[in-house]
């Protein structure tokens, strides 16, 4: 099945990353010594060549991989919202809630179409058939239960796109037949922020804050955890909750700091969340 192909591809990407990791660590480990020994004038040249070697192509992922990864999630979301609208519980929702689901569904369907075209346009084969498992959907026996999953899917989507942004960094604009010239990273970011708008609204429908403040009823779910959990308060090496760390005599609470930044999920983390939901 197509989804397993993605997993295989990701495993290949992972081992690739692993291979690059050790040489990079070696560069950092030796850096201190080199920098101290070298005259200041000579150092930048030396370092530049070291970094050029260590980092060459590091951030340029395979865009087909990245967009098929995104397409997998969008297909899952699009099918989920189709199932929600076909469910008898949809009629129990208010008119406003029904309208919101229709608007979100419209976007997810558009994302599937766009990403399919993009994957084809960059010479890849789009994944297909990543539907929301019927047996899992059957366990969602109220509109409220469906909304819980909707929130988790949207917030997972936000973190998933964020986690792949650097894989598209530095990739040149491409002309996609039927779409026009796009910048791959920009397109991904423009979907990413739509997922965040969706997440915010669904959270509101569920009486949660639009942002992830650590007080939500689903905050212990895997969607909000991971190697860098949503409760993270350290950015760029700075613990932003410590007094005066970023601004003298100003201290921010852990809740506010955590809510002010969304975090990434790695592909492995996303797939652990999404895989049990995908199937016939």
């Amino acid at each position: 099945m197509n989804f397993l192909n993605i997993l295989t591809q990701l495993a290949e990407v992972d081992s690739d990353v692993l291979d690059r990791l050790n040489p990079r660590r070696a560069v950092f480990a030796s850096l201190g010594t080199v920098a101290k020994r070298s005259a200041l004038a000579a150092t930048p040249v030396l370092l530049a060549s070291m970094f050029q070697k260590a980092y060459a192509g590091t951030n340029a992922g395979n865009p087909v991989d990245v967009f098929n990864y995104a397409l997998t999630l969008e297909q899952l979301e699009a099918d989920f919202y189709n199932k929600v609208q076909a469910s008898p519980f949809f009629l129990t929702a208010s008119a406003a809630d029904q309208a919101a689901i229709k608007q979100i569904s419209k976007h997810e369907t558009a994302h599937v179409a766009l990403l399919t075209t993009v994957v084809q346009g960059i010479g890849g084969t789009p994944v297909t058939g990543n539907t929301f498992k019927t047996s899992v959907f059957a366990t969602l026996t109220s509109f409220a239960a469906q909304l819980q999953v909707a929130q988790l899917l949207e917030d997972t989507g936000v973190r998933a796109y964020k986690g792949r942004a650097t894989d598209l960094q530095g990739i040149a604009d491409v002309n996609i037949p039927g779409v026009g010239t796009i910048n791959p990273l920009e397109s991904a970011l423009r979907i990413h922020s739509v997922e965040a708008r969706h997440a915010a609204h669904i959270r509101g429908m569920r009486m949660q804050t639009a942002w992830i403040s650590g007080t939500g009823d689903l905050d212990t779910q895997a969607t909000y955890q991971g190697a860098t959990p949503e409760s993270n308060t350290t950015q760029a090496g700075y613990n932003l909750t410590m007094a005066g760390v970023i601004t003298p005599s100003v201290t921010y609470s852990a809740t506010d700091v955590a809510a002010a930044f969304d975090e990434i999920l790695t592909p492995a983390e996303v797939l652990a969340i999404a895989m049990p939901l995908i199937g016939a």
Partner: protein
């Protein structure tokens, strides 16, 4: 319940996760960079191609400069404006705000203050640059006494912020050793701005969180704007003239 359908982990992916702890790696890189003598040289080497000019404003003009540093300065300028706006919203709350609205705007105000202060610190300590001056806001066109006036301005700021970050991501160069980390950080912030935007839009017009005027109904894409277009739109809220013509170049 449905929550049980989302397991916390999947056995076969455990070994896949190991090499993917890139955020930790980047953070430890920053801690290293901030703590050693090699840091300055390292950043200089990384910035060689996009060497960034320190903004030296003429009277009343603030240049955001060029290179990756300029993208940070650009974000810092917008976060300064947003933070100042919400500080005023909280300081002189509209008489027709619901208590819950004021409580949430207080949270939004803090998020924006954190973004502002974080960028100032990152520009200084990570990018080794000089942050642009504290901008003087001009909010004379905003009626802070009325809920509608505040929400209208908040919507404009948040949607503009989302469009700005969406357009700026591709301007961050990864030929700078910090470039990937900058992009990830921008991504961590833009989705919070999008959450704010959706919240404010829903207050102003329920159900408009991702309406067709902001999210293209055919492609499902949010707006994206160039720095010059964003600054042109934001200029009426700032006393200084901001020059964004070289941002990301």
């Amino acid at each position: 319940m449905s929550t049980k359908t989302i397991p916390s982990s999947q056995p076969q992916t455990t070994d896949l996760e190991k090499p993917l702890y890139t955020p930790i790696k980047r953070r430890s890189f920053f801690m290293y960079a901030g703590a050693t003598a090699g840091a300055t040289a390292l950043v200089l080497a990384g910035c060689k191609k996009d060497d960034s000019t320190t903004p030296t404003p003429a009277a009343g003009t603030v240049s955001l400069g060029n290179g990756n540093l300029s993208v940070l300065q650009y974000a810092y300028s917008l976060e300064q404006l947003e933070a100042a706006f919400y500080a005023q919203v909280v300081k002189t709350p509209a008489s027709d705000f619901a208590p819950i609205e004021l409580a949430y705007f207080t949270q939004v105000a803090t998020h924006e203050a954190i973004h502002r202060d974080f960028f100032k610190a990152a520009i200084t300590n990570v990018a080794k640059g000089t942050p642009i001056m504290d901008l003087t806001p001009d909010f004379s066109s905003i009626d802070f006494t009325k809920r509608a006036g505040v929400l209208g301005a908040a919507k404009a700021f948040e949607d503009l912020g989302v469009s700005a970050y969406n357009g700026a991501g591709k301007l961050i160069s990864n030929s700078d050793a910090n470039g990937a980390a900058y992009l990830t950080l921008a991504g961590k912030i833009v989705s919070v701005e999008a959450r704010h935007a959706a919240y404010v839009r829903d207050l102003l017009n329920p159900g408009s969180f991702a309406a067709d005027d902001q999210v293209d109904p055919a492609s499902g894409l949010d707006m994206s704007m160039t720095p010059v277009a964003v600054i042109t739109a934001a200029q009426k809220y700032v006393k200084q003239t901001i020059d964004a013509s070289q941002v990301g170049k």
